[in-house]
Structures are given as C-alpha cells and as structure tokens.
Symmetry: C2
Subunit: 171 residues, 2 copies
C-alpha cells in the first residue's frame, strides 16, 4: 500500500460514498416499513436554513467528482440535479464513483503541487493540490455525507455509526 493523491481522493471518496449509498438504502427501507412518503425524508432538514437530504447527497457527489479531475488538471463533468428518489440518488453516487475511477494513476502525477483555482460565489479560492484535497475537499465531502446521515437519524431511521464507517460490509 502506498499513499498517493489518487489513494486519498478517488479511493477515499469512493469508499465513503459507497457507505452513503448503503445509508440511503436503509433510509428507503425505513420509509417503506413505516409507511412514510420517501419524499418527506428527502426534503428533511436539520434547520430551516440548512439544505435538505437530496441536496446533501448531490453536493457530496459533486465535491468528490469535481475534486478528482481538478487534481488531474481536467475539466470536471457536469451532472444535472434532477434526482427525485432514493434510488436516483444512489444511481448518482454510482455515476460519480465510476467517473472518478475513470482517471488513471498517471493523471495524479504532481497533483500535490498543482495550482487549483476554485470559483466560490464572488470569490476565487486558490490552493496547492494537497491543501485543496485535505483542507477543502475532504472536510466538505464528509460534511455533506455526515449531514445526510444525521438527517435520517434525526428522522428515526435505524442507523449506527457502523453503517457510516463500513457500509454494507458492517465491519
């Protein structure tokens, strides 16, 4: 095993997004078992001015699948935001993971030192690749994955940290 920008981006994101997909599967099953309209959970928020579950999942995908091409000096592919069900959100996750995994090890050569410019509203954030990954992308992705989990937990879905950490592996 060797640490690399690819190992700490593509592989890390793919692993945790896979676990998010598992968490969403449990959310869908809980809605069905409790006769709750899935759209109710998908529109749930932890505070009126926080984003709902659907957006948390979309953004977790976007930050991951945009981070990877930026590290590889490519233009990120755009995804439409049109998911309306747990299944469609899980398909978006699978699509994001496939896309990230389409990059080759050679694409990440020198990625630590690459200059990354990131549009953020009216500002442009500037990073070296390593700081972009560890101080921006990774915290950001986990912010949204965890908040998605917390929304479901807050709404009574039976989940434990093991679902978040290990997904269907249950390890």
């Amino acid at each position: 095993m060797k640490i690399s920008m690819q190992a700490m981006s593509v592989e890390l994101f793919a692993y945790s997004l896979g676990n998010l997909s598992h968490v969403l599967e449990k959310g869908a099953a809980s809605a069905a078992a409790r006769k709750i309209e899935p759209a109710v959970l998908l529109a749930s928020r932890l505070a009126p001015d926080m984003l709902p579950l659907t957006r948390q999942v979309q953004i977790a995908c976007d930050i991951s699948k945009n981070c990877v091409p930026r590290l590889a000096a490519k233009e990120p592919r755009k995804f439409e935001d049109n998911e309306k069900s747990f299944e469609e959100l899980r398909a978006r996750i699978a699509r994001a993971v496939d896309y990230m995994q389409s990059f080759q090890a050679s694409d990440f050569e020198g990625a630590e030192d690459r200059d990354i410019k990131l549009p953020a509203g009216e500002r442009t954030l500037e990073f070296k690749g390593l700081d972009f990954l560890r101080h921006w992308a990774i915290p950001n992705v986990y912010f949204h994955i965890t908040t998605a989990y917390d929304i479901l937990r807050h709404n009574g879905v039976e989940l434990g940290k093991r679902d978040f950490i290990a997904g269907s592996r249950g390890a």
Copy 2:
C-alpha cells in the same frame, strides 16, 4: 508540498479540529447572547439515542489523538472525559492537537503498511495503516466534528459551512 501519512493525519486533523474549536466558540457566544445555559447546548442531541455535543467533541479528539500514535507505533495517551464547558472542550482540542504535533516525521516511516489492531467492543478490527487512516480514522473524525456542528446548527447557532471548512480564517 508532499503527501505523507503525517500530512494526511496530524495536519489534517489539527486543521479541522481547529475549525471545530472556532465553531464551539460561536456556540458559546450564541448561548451567551440568547441567555441559554451553555449546559443545555452541551447536552443536546439530534436523536434520543445519539450522543450529545460534549461527547461528539471528546470523541473527535480521541479518534484523532489515538490514530496518530497508532500510525507511529506508539501507545496512545489517555485523556479523562471531564469537560463541563465550551472552554474546557476547546482546551481538550488544543491538548489533542499539541499531542499529535509532538510526533516527528520519522515516526511515520512505513506507517502506510503498519499492521493496526483496534479494539472495538468485543471485536478487534485489523487494518494496514493506510486503510486505517482513510477508511476508519478520517471518516470517524469528520462524523463527530460534523455532528457537533449539526447539533449547534439545529439549535439555532448562526454558523455557515465556511466556519466548518475554514474556521476563523473565514476563507
């Protein structure tokens, strides 16, 4: 800049725990401004069977400050769980960061491939160092940091994702 096990553990954790400290400072200020007993926020949870804010912060510190010596093949130092205020929690974070930063670059040589055994209730989890860091410690730390943030947000503390990502730097 170079990617390394130290850069992706000590430096990543120190950065995000520093931001958590900033988030807690805002929580304390919000409690004071709204005349809410700080202990009320510290005992808040997102679900009856989730851990309260104080425990989320203690555990975020513990996973970070135990991960680092394990990667360095040292015995983790134990911290008592006796914090009763926002200030004491912020002091715990500072103590955890100081402790992690006391390890030297040479301590992390070969850490990617180190065999890590982790007691987890009745089980023992086994990892190589790289997977321990990226598939266990990092997601786990962000789980607790984000849930701490989400608890404060859910309780009306004025916070934005920028506080979580960049702390007092506001970048």
